[in-house]
Symmetry: C3
Subunit: 249 residues, 3 copies
């Protein structure tokens, strides 16, 4: 197994943020076409599938191995650089450690045995009848609104595609944030769709969405929701999936 | 009872801040000439009397009813808007809820039975012989200074009107902040006046005073102090009253 | 004993910061040539020797007395002024208190009996074979790097003067920050030197070093390190000394 790469600090941070929002440690697949991470939280409710393509690197060489890393630790090391600084990553096969260099700084990061890390989830193929495109900022605003009165959020798309709703029902208060077609970046609704989700998970996921990210939200009825977006000028592609909660009515 | 109003977010925030500094819930009087709130803290030490006049609204209609609200919750909803955004408030008499709209956001706020809220205090008419006008910033500075060594503050006006003092005596240290006539915006002292107050209450009250607010401070000897100021270009008028503490000498 | 001085707020803050980083109270020597403070932390591991010369004052008069002060309290009072504001300090011999004035504010600070304060340490004369000059920013960066994986830091100078290292060995990870001759402001190494130190102490000391301070670091092998720098345009001179830790190998 060999791995050697050179990239800017912010590229690596942009790639890791969506993963560290859900898990503390993960397997990184060192594929020929770039780095890939798939992870699921300990309750198997939220998933992330991230790909950082080779075009995001200054230099990249890998042969398909898998390493396990502590994301906290790796992100702490990256935070020693300024966002444009170049970082080199080199796998030392003998020591099973990752050598990280940022200008005068050398950091030797101990790896984690991949077998000790929660297995990578399969991201199921689902037929989701509604697709709505919003900005990261829109999603964040809807979450903040729902959070005013509840710890759950209903995502709802009308059949005629005229509106998308982020709604919450609290014990005494209700909130409804409505997006008309004009508010959405795009949208197509083959069938009305409505599902209920845990707000905390959606909050964690949204933290890695840039304000101006174009987020595709794929929705069904009492189905998982898929959130798909890219960042770092398209070098980083992210898919989040979140299992629905059962309505207690 | 009917109530319907349209105003900017910051106007409503400017009106509610002075009240939420003292209490968590309050009655709001929906008078024809605007919104009025009178409230006293649970220890009956600090009072506030706030009036937001109809000229502060884009549209206003009310017939003298009274509603009870949770201030935290109402302020959280308002914080979803930017300061210039328009908010509409509509009382739904059937549900006894307040419908709040800020652009795409609809929030239904459950009201509180006014009878379950602490009774509105009478703000007594008092003959207070000293009147001094300071900025909100001055008052804040004096409170911070007193806080260095004590949890109480003495407000003192000299007979000749030459000086106003904010003073504190700690166990070992003392502090005295002196305002000469030149430091004051205005002042007239018919009789020397000096009273001792709890610093925490004054701190809470001062939090809603804008830095450049012109605050009229009416002082007597071992009497309550009255603080009168306006904000939001005069649309909001506030009177605070704070009971004195007995000197333990 | 008489003492009376006038200086800007930031001059006094610049003088006290390096001391308050290590101790809560200290003796201040009111010498004819300025204020001097020597102090050691309760574990006798870190020392500071600070001198604020008379040229840093607008006015200064002292005759060699010693006072004891609570640094927290004195710094809190200074924080009431803006950095360019003038502060007057006057010792009231009868009350044994220090009268502090910042524009309209008068603060009477109770002094502490100097005999109740930990004795001033002797700063030993040491032959330290390596001298390296770095910026305060460099030292701060090295400390942050070491902190990623350990609570101890090794400072190491190579014999040929080609490099200075700030290193740390954690349970699983290592870090090495290398400064070449080009990275250093100056350096002369008569003999290779390497010592291990507690990171927390060095962190506290570095907090008072300005980003662009030129810090002379005097290093030996298993010897204390000396850090010497000035601030406030040279009016404040500081020497820190830190005892080494024994390598547990």
């Amino acid at each position: 197994m060999s791995f050697s790469a050179l990239a800017s600090v912010d590229t690596l941070q942009d790639a890791l943020d969506p993963v560290s929002a859900l898990v503390d440690e993960c397997k990184i697949r060192l594929n020929e076409d770039g780095l890939s991470i798939r992870a699921v939280d300990h309750a198997y409710v939220g998933m992330v599938d991230m790909h950082l393509t080779t075009s995001g690197f200054e230099a990249y060489e890998a042969d398909g191995g898998v390493i396990g890393v502590s994301l906290d630790r790796l992100e702490d090391v990256l935070s020693m650089g300024d966002s444009g600084d170049l970082v080199s990553l080199d796998l030392n096969e003998q020591t099973r450690k990752l050598d990280i260099h940022i200008s005068g700084l050398s950091y030797t990061l101990a790896l984690i045995d991949p077998d000790s890390i929660r297995q990578e989830p399969d991201i199921p193929e689902l037929e989701l009848p509604a697709r709505l495109v919003l900005t990261g900022d829109d999603i964040d605003y809807g979450i903040t609104a729902a959070d005013l009165c509840s710890d759950r959020i209903t995502l709802r798309a009308d059949k005629d595609g005229e509106a998308f709703h982020m709604e919450a029902e609290g014990d005494t208060d209700d909130v409804d944030l409505t997006f008309t077609n004009d508010d959405l970046l795009a949208g197509s609704v083959d069938e009305a769709a409505e599902s209920l989700f845990s707000l905390d998970y959606l909050k964690d996921m949204s933290r890695a969405m840039d304000t101006d990210a174009e987020v595709s939200l794929l929705l069904g009825s009492e189905m998982p929701v898929k959130l798909r977006y890219s960042r770092n000028n398209g070098h980083v592609e992210v898919v989040n999936m979140l299992a629905p909660r059962i309505k207690s009515e």
